[in-house]
Amino acid sequence: MNGADEQDAIAVAGIEKTYGWGGRAFKALDGLSLGVPQGCVYGLLGPNGAGKSTLLRIIAGLVRADRGSVSIFGATASRQSRRRLGMLIEAPAFYPFLTAREHLEMVARTSDSDTNARVEPVLRRVGIGHAADRKVAAFSLGMKQRLGIGCALVAHPDAIVLDEPTNGLDPDGILEMRSLIAELARRDGITVLLSSHLLDEVERVCDRVAILRDGRLAAQGRVADLLDGQARFWLSVDCPQLVLERLAGRADAGDGGVYVRIGREQAPELIRMLSAADIRIFEAKWVKPDLESVFLSETRKAAP
């Protein structure tokens, strides 16, 4: 499966990565291909060990892939092309003896950015302007997380890669982060690739998601399409048992009625068939699962 095309901000193709040797070898990524379209907020989901962090580290150039390629805005990943990315990989890591401002200035300088013009607005934007001249040693985890996002933003990136960006933030901070990420994509046109364990968060903020399982792509697409694809038809009827018998293998009892797994185009025919069988239908509706249900369904499938 290759989800990459020319419009992709970040594309990986056939990525393989194995850690260790011999009997201790662990395949973290197994021929993974996906594309992050420009301007979208793309969520990367997967259980622990699915390969999310390895993928982000390969994109960042921290780990070499055994096979496959990474391209950034159409160019093969290199120091030059990675300059178009802002990154916050895993936990934010800083020098405790430097201040927040010094960190941002360092990143801006090494990125050839107009340092003075960029640092102040970024400090304000991520909400640590009041602590700009404090040493990072005195920062809470949430403040470090904000500074990490500041470092990702300070060098005029065209795309940012965020690994668990809401880690360590309080509820207000999570709300702010969510609106910041949405603003980056909608207002500034910055592509955002983020990984998170907070499925509710991803569902709210992402346009597209990829679900990884055992280093492979289990599902990928627009959040709305993924949810639609697993929507089920729910019926409230006078004799649910009869419906379960007639639709054996395609229906389950639940929520006081019957869930039927059919395509949208089959719904009118189903209703006609039940009516013809003298089954009284009180209510019928499409029930979309939440992202958590889709995630669990995809990640619990047996690996091919």
């Binding site: 850690y19 962090s53 390895t54 580290r57 960042a60 150039g61 921290l62 780990v63 070499r64 120091r79 990675r82 300059r83 990315l85 990154m87 990989i89 895993e90 936990a91 890591a93 800083f94 020098y95 405790p96 003896f97 430097l98 010094e102 360092m106 990143v107 300088r109 090494t110 990125s111 050839d112 470092c151 060098a155």
Partner: protein
Amino acid sequence: MTALFLSELLKLKRQPGVLFWGFLAVPAAALAFRIALEGFFLLRYGDFPQARTDMLVSAAQSLGIAGNPVAQLLYAIGVSSVFHVEYRFSTWRNLVPRAGRLPPLAAKFAVCLLCMAIGLGLTVVGDMMLNAGLGLVGDGGSRAPAQAGGVLVLGAAFGIAFLELATLAAIVATLTLLFRSMIAAVIPVFLAGITCAMAQAYFGAAIAGIPMPAFAADAARAWLFAGAEGAYGVGGVGTLLAWLLAAMAAGCLVFSRQPLNTE
């Protein structure tokens, strides 16, 4: 590259402990030791031990501190700290995506070389000022003014000491990158230095031909202060250069392939 270099300087400036003990303690200790020694002779015998010393040659000889195992231990701690800080705080992940792998290494190495050069410069200045001061305090005639040839000797001694320290820095940096640990880089270098010093004390010239950096630097210094006749000093400099280039190449190779999934 300039931005990376300035960033490394800033990091070092913000770690005064590393800056002092790693790079400035050696010239300070060398000067303090000389003052103590001269003071001892002055108090004990009423005169200074050296007679008619060319200030420049004396300064050149003071640069032999670069070959002292304890001085090398302190320099090794300084160099290893500069490289190890990125593993300690997991900050390679901030540097590598944007700056690549080799430019940050080059910036760190350049900062170490700059600090070592400043350290050697301070050693020279300290020695010359001490000699000038002692000339005023004691028998002025016993401290000879600088001779023109002394400048060349001083320049050459500075070059040898700098090359020896650069080689030390390259070896320590490579070990730090390889083992991601300060201890694993500093202790072997210190033990090797001590072993070489002891072997030299026991066996003298018999082992001078072994191509170790410590022997090579001593051979180059001995050649310089013996009047720079013959070619054996050039062999010492060549050995140091070979070690420097090999250690730099090994460091670049190790780091360019190193996975930074757990710094």
